[in-house]
């Protein structure tokens, strides 16, 4: 009986292997949203775009910019115009040529399309010009250091202008994106798969080994891992931290984690509506005391399986703007109690809101226990994610736990969260000095000088603590042993250049 089962198993496996030799299958946690780079919002869609849609520039693993559709770039002397020299051998999937006119049409679309999600990223752009076929000039209203980083992501992705010329173009582009990346769009079944096939006219086509790339949406992390173990997929993203020990022991798999650009944070409601009134956390001393009760390293070990690096600042470890001046604060219960006393409180009763999933819930429970040592009596309020967004925006929270997927440019990880009118500042914390410093940082393109300015802002923010960072979000990838040349990037994207299957 056993023999028969094994025989049958071998037979089925053999059948499955035929015909898939150069097809790469990627298991993702989420199904992407629309595949229009100018309107898309999700991490999962960005992973697909990385193979589908080329952008003006890309980043390397050290977050430095490298050429893609643009061969080179430079700012003018007063930092008001960014000039790109474009490559001359790039072609869109519909056969039309990529040139400066096409790039201009794309940027104009990103700037003017009513549903464009890229408007705020390109807010400083005043005019886009194409002085000759392969020169693109972007004029800005005021110096904008984060602009190049925006163009290394969706704002810099190029669609064939023909594809968005017609009526109802927005939806049509989302259903059938025509870009210039190494792979072109074949089909999509929502909640199931997105299929791409190799684009032979891609300028670096020889560096891409796979004929076909399929992205599967497999939401359950256990099932995603089972698929990888059984050979149904070749790469998975976002392994569950609790599976890490088992993954490391599996001889057939390779664990490829990388610390990302994003973070988890506590946001304290300092000044937003009803929730801020009677909120003990609107007192700075209470916030500081709370921080002194939290053992970030312990959270990283227990909840994160060792892959959640503690975070004290919003800038990720890979960022040149990460500062040594702000080491991770170690727990100190005595000091926390002293601070509470100084604030005139023995015990603190407050409510912690968080999105209802396993990792968030267990983190919240740990935090509840840790903060309890100094006299914090936290009640936990698990909330469905979309409902939490609305509640937090309205100010119906005292302290919440939230995530940010992170941006390459430091501005993206701080500005909207702590400036007085910041769109993500649900705390309504407001310090004009911080606003001024962060605005200044936007205008400086020199890395050293800019870093000094961010350090200045952080010195204030670490003291006033409107937000407390917990850990950096990791991107834990796992690949089959046969997958060669795969390296994870801090932005969590899957770059397939140079990736192949080992022979044999």
């Amino acid at each position: 009986m056993k023999k028969i089962a094994l025989l049958a198993g071998g037979l089925l496996m053999g059948m499955a292997a035929v015909g898939h030799a150069q097809d790469l299958r990627i298991g993702m946690q989420d199904d992407p949203d629309t595949l229009d780079p100018h309107r898309s919002r999700t991490y999962a869609a960005r992973i697909v775009f990385t193979s589908l849609c080329d952008k003006l520039v890309d980043i390397d693993s050290k977050l430095q910019f490298v050429p893609k559709l643009a061969k080179s770039w430079s700012w003018n002397d007063d930092n008001t115009a960014l000039t790109f020299k474009l490559r001359e051998d790039a072609v869109f999937h519909d056969g039309s040529k990529f040139d400066a006119q096409a790039a201009k049409a794309n940027l104009d679309r990103a700037l003017t399309l009513p549903e464009s999600q890229r408007k705020s990223e390109l807010a400083s752009v005043s005019k886009v010009e194409a002085p000759d076929a392969y020169t693109l000039v972007i004029n800005v209203k005021q110096p904008d250091a984060p602009l190049l980083a925006q163009l290394s992501d969706r704002a810099g992705m190029m669609l064939s202008p023909k594809s968005f010329a017609g009526e109802d173009s927005a939806s049509a582009v989302g259903r059938n994106p025509v870009c210039s990346g190494p792979y072109k769009f074949v089909e999509r079944v929502q909640n199931d798969r997105i299929v791409l096939e190799k684009f032979d006219k891609y300028y670096d086509a020889k560096d891409y080994a796979f004929d076909k790339v399929t992205f599967f949406a497999i939401p359950d992390s256990t099932v995603r891992l089972s698929n990888l173990k059984s050979g149904g997929i070749d790469i998975l993203e976002r392994a569950n931290p609790s599976d890490v020990p088992a993954i490391k022991q599996d001889a057939g798999l390779v664990f490829k984690p990388v610390t990302g650009l994003g973070f988890r944070q506590f946001m304290f409601n300092v000044n937003n509506g009803e929730g801020a009134k009677n909120n003990p956390f609107s007192n700075k001393l209470v916030r500081q005391a709370f921080q002194l009760t939290i053992d970030r390293a312990a959270i990283g070990e227990v909840i994160g399986g060792g892959i959640f690096p503690p975070a004290q600042q919003p800038f990720p470890l890979a960022s040149p703007y990460h500062s040594d001046k702000f080491p991770v604060v170690k727990p100190d219960i005595a000091k926390a109690k002293a601070l509470l006393k100084e604030a005139g409180m023995e015990t603190v009763q407050a409510q912690l809101t968080f999105a209802n999933n396993t990792i968030e819930a267990s983190t919240a429970e740990m935090v509840q226990a840790m903060a309890g040592q100094a006299g914090f009596q936290l009640s936990l309020r698990p909330t469905e994610y979309a409902a939490m967004l609305a509640e937090s925006a309205k100010g119906n929270f005292q302290v919440d736990m939230r995530g940010w997927s992170g941006r390459v440019d430091p501005d993206g990880n701080i500005f909207s969260f702590v400036t007085c009118k910041g769109t993500l500042n649900d705390s309504k914390y407001c310090n004009p000095k911080v606003d001024e410093i962060l605005r200044k940082a936007r205008t400086i393109s020199d890395q050293e000088k800019r870093k000094a300015v961010y350090d200045e802002a952080q010195t204030i923010l670490q003291d006033e603590l409107p937000s407390m960072y917990i850990y950096y979000q990791p991107w834990p990838f796992v690949v089959q042993k046969k997958v060669q040349g795969f390296e994870p990037f801090p932005d969590g994207m899957i770059r397939l250049q140079g990736v192949s299957f080992s022979k044999g």
């Binding site: 198993g9 999600q117 929502q190 798969r193």
Partner: protein, 314 residues
């Protein structure tokens, strides 16, 4: 017969209108702002305003409802706010998946549940009945997500016999499609089989103690004929109704099973749409499910009449 069907169709119309109002009203009660859920991490205020305007979220509810119904009347269920795919396309993509899963699960459930129910009734008080009851109890109480994951670990990871998850249309590769769907259909069928077994058993017990069965036995009919022809045919009536209703529920999607096995079916579509506050999809899908249910109950009535001659003359 025709008259009956016609009358049922007419009755269905107000039901549908009521359903559409309830669907529409319910999701507006959902906590959370759909626009915030849609606008992504950055929450650009200009984008928020545009989306509110575009999807008429600033209009009063009745105005929104009338606008939606007008579109539905023209066969237009709208476009997914999240992926740009028309809801009608989504429905036509997902419906065959769910139907395939439902048919396969129902097939297994009937194959196991009904014979087991008959056996339990005929062998009342023996170990056979105890075993059948144990099966029914486990079938009902073992959670699908647990059974699913255990099956995947054993069948796919350990022995590599079947694909762990996913979906392949039968048109593309029939055998692979069947293989992929085998585990989810089995998992889904456990509870239904248990349900069918319990109901078959009690219906059979009732039938077996009826006068006509005694008469048949007195006539000297063999036990086989008594059980299968006399008792079973009468006991089947409520089972047929049960099967159609259960089938209707399967069509509404088996969310947990679909989630575990990564099957892009109706249930998953609906649940994802609710979490993403993708109103157009929620409305369209629930409407389709409601229509499906009404059609199925109609079908059950017709089947009933066909099986039970006594109803034909009333």
């Amino acid at each position: 017969m025709l008259k009956l069907i016609l009358r049922r169709v007419i009755v269905a119309i107000p039901t549908l209108i009521l359903v559409s109002i309830v669907i529409f009203g319910l999701q507006k009660i959902l906590p959370g702002d759909p626009v915030l859920a849609m606008a992504g991490e950055e929450r650009d205020p200009a984008v928020l305003d545009f989306l509110r305007e575009k999807y008429r979220l600033n209009d009063p509810l009745p105005v929104q409802y009338v606008a939606w119904i007008k579109e539905v009347g023209q066969g237009n269920l709208g476009v997914s706010l999240r992926t740009d795919i028309p809801v009608t396309t989504l429905v036509s993509q997902k419906l065959p998946v769910t139907i395939q899963l439902a048919i396969m699960a129902m097939f297994f459930a009937i194959l196991v549940g009904i014979p087991l129910g008959i056996l339990a009734a005929v062998r009342k008080g023996t170990r056979v009945e105890f075993g059948a009851n144990l099966f029914a109890l486990s079938g009902m109480s073992i959670p699908n997500f647990w059974l699913g994951i255990i099956l995947i670990m054993i069948v796919s990871v350990q022995f590599r016999l079947l694909p762990a998850s996913g979906y392949v249309p039968p048109g593309r590769d029939f055998w692979l499609s069947m293989k992929t769907m085998l585990m989810p259909a089995l998992v889904l069928s456990t509870a239904i089989a248990a349900y069918l077994m319990r109901h078959t058993r009690s219906a059979m017990l009732e039938a077996l103690s009826a006068d006509y069965v005694r008469t048949a036995r007195a006539k000297g009919a063999s036990e086989r004929i008594v059980v299968l022809r006399h008792a079973l045919r009468n006991a089947l009536m409520p089972i047929v109704t049960l099967v159609t209703i259960l089938f209707g529920e399967l069509l509404a999607g088996a969310v947990l099973t679909e989630q575990i096995f990564g099957i892009p079916g109706f249930g998953k579509l609906l649940v994802d749409a609710v979490f993403n506050r993708d109103y157009a999809v929620v409305q369209g899908v629930v409407l389709c499910i409601a229509v499906g249910f009404i059609v199925l109950t109609l079908l059950a009535d017709v089947l009933y009449i066909l099986i039970n001659p006594r109803l034909r003359y009333s």
